[in-house]
Point group: none
Chain length 198, copies 4
């Protein structure tokens, strides 16, 4: 028989519903923002009840944290992959990788920015914040190391400036500011890199 035994199937397909809940949450977070997303709506999008969600995630915050952590993970892996293939101009490759990742996954940038509010009262659990900060730090270090191997002056300052430029441009892009100014987000980033890392 070609049927996989139940156990093996369970191992091979670890909780599809969990994945569907995460996907639904990602979508709803993107569409409605962090506060606007309700557990009920997320559950409905996932095709289950709130109870089924709470059986897998301890609450809304845990759901958000897992999604954000996954996003940072994918970004890190994406950077690592790009740098493995890269020869020279590693700093440029890293910053382009950062920029393009969020350009192509716009909802994930929004996800990270919700932390803006989170700094105020009612933010994330300290442990989660710590864990997410670690992931963020790893990404910055990857970029900084790439700049160092290029022999760039003041690599930390350059890394911060590059990331800031990418974030600023992406936000202006997403909020329609760039369209208002007839500017192209890709060209802008290219122009920045040409100026900063000639």
């Amino acid at each position: 028989m070609t049927d996989t035994p139940a156990l093996a199937r369970d191992v091979a397909e670890p909780d599809r519903r969990r994945q569907r809940i995460l996907a639904a949450a990602r979508q709803v977070f993107e569409e409605r923002g962090l506060d606007g997303a309700s557990m009920r709506v997320i559950s409905q999008h996932a095709g289950c009840t709130t109870g089924a969600v709470y059986a897998r995630f301890s609450g809304k915050e845990a759901l958000y944290a897992e999604i954000l952590a996954g996003s940072l993970d994918r970004l890190q892996q994406s950077l690592d992959r790009s740098l493995q293939e890269a020869g020279n101009h590693r700093g440029r490759v890293a910053l382009q990788g950062f920029f393009r990742y969020y350009l192509e996954q716009p909802s994930e940038l929004a996800l990270g920015l919700y932390l803006y509010q989170g700094l105020g009262p009612g933010g994330l659990t300290p442990e989660l914040d710590q864990q997410l900060n670690q992931a963020v730090l790893g990404i910055y270090q990857t970029i900084t190391h790439a700049l160092i191997s290029d022999g760039v002056n003041e690599p930390e300052t350059q890394a911060t400036a590059g990331v800031a430029q990418a974030i600023g441009l992406l936000i202006m892009h997403r909020t329609g500011r760039l369209k208002l100014l007839n500017a192209d987000v890709g060209r802008q980033m290219e122009a920045y890199l040409a100026m900063a890392l000639p």
Copy 2:
């Protein structure tokens, strides 16, 4: 006639309670975020009832829009004032003005960023959005014109890049990212301006 015309009277004696409501809303939005601010709390901070708020503003969104409009207005005036006093390096003065305004009024940057999610289906009324866009456009033009009068190459691209850098740095500052990286927000902006507008 000895009577002050109606318009003049309105200008001379604008509804003081209206101003107090706006001030209260600004404070509460800053302290609790857009979703965390309740109309009741705003009313209490303003020393009046919810009814008194609804007599002047059609709802929470209208309050938000008016505050944002006022913020952009003050930013525009702040830039204009700085440029009147400035001689050379007008572009640098304009970008520094933009950066410093939001550095000193951090809640107003947050206000503007809520627009990020506002772009979605639950966003602002089209008319309000249009009006706010006009204000934003004015600010960009002010910066661009300053760069033009400096004789800078590609002034639009430079204006956009400078604004993006400022916004990116401010967000990283507010979300604690810069502290994580041991970076100073003011130094970073200085470094950017030194590089981009030498």
Copy 3:
């Protein structure tokens, strides 16, 4: 005109709905117990929405505390009144007063007994507990002083024993135990007093 002005009416009739909510809560607490009583059901019994309840009471616990405090207050006043009219045998009068009050207001004994669970985790706020303990203490002192003025030996021990007897009998009465034993709750209390305070 015979109409009371609005202000005077407000003072004379201080929030009837508040009284109706308290009455409804008393009834529902009695019928369903502390955990079984839901704010929604209490609201419906009071003929209003939960919001109207929360406008007057900070939560379920506050509702319960106010009802219990009122009950203890009425008991204290009832004891004081009985003792003012009493000549000799003041201890007997006090204990009879305690017993009869709860015999006639059976729901209020239940109210106090919910504290049994409340001692565990999730009980009352320390401040409320403190306040209620003060009221309980006052009642015990009233009984003890009555026994002292009778010249009874070991008045504290007697007060405690008398109160314990009353509480025990009332519980057995309410839970149907006395009916099972063909015992009459009033006779039992009389017999106890005849033996303990001859």
Copy 4:
């Protein structure tokens, strides 16, 4: 036949998991109260799933009823044992036995008191109530017979009074009332017995 009859086997090898569930439920009821105890938590304490509990008990109420029945059974056996060893003063021995049993098993007194609210419409099944009443009746009769064999006057009244005193004191003890009054629960019971059964 060499086979053990079914009944004997059942007695010899009673479903061990059933016992573990009962023990877990007892503990959880004690720690969290009747309403605070969830079937999930009980199941986890018993090291099984909720399904395994429902295979043996029709629901939460049945669990509660069986625990209460077991408690009354153990009390009865405890009284019987004490009286077998006793010579004179059998009534005092019986009442002391009743008092000490619940003093040492405080959760079981709580268990019985939940019946207070159970008297209402949401109470126990009539059959269960009947069965529990039988057990209670047996305990009272044991105490009454002990008093009769002592030659005490009005043994039924004395039995009821003694049980009421014990219950009242135990409740005041458990709710912290006795601590408030600087009274000792054991001394109080001793003082009562000295007075009532000299």
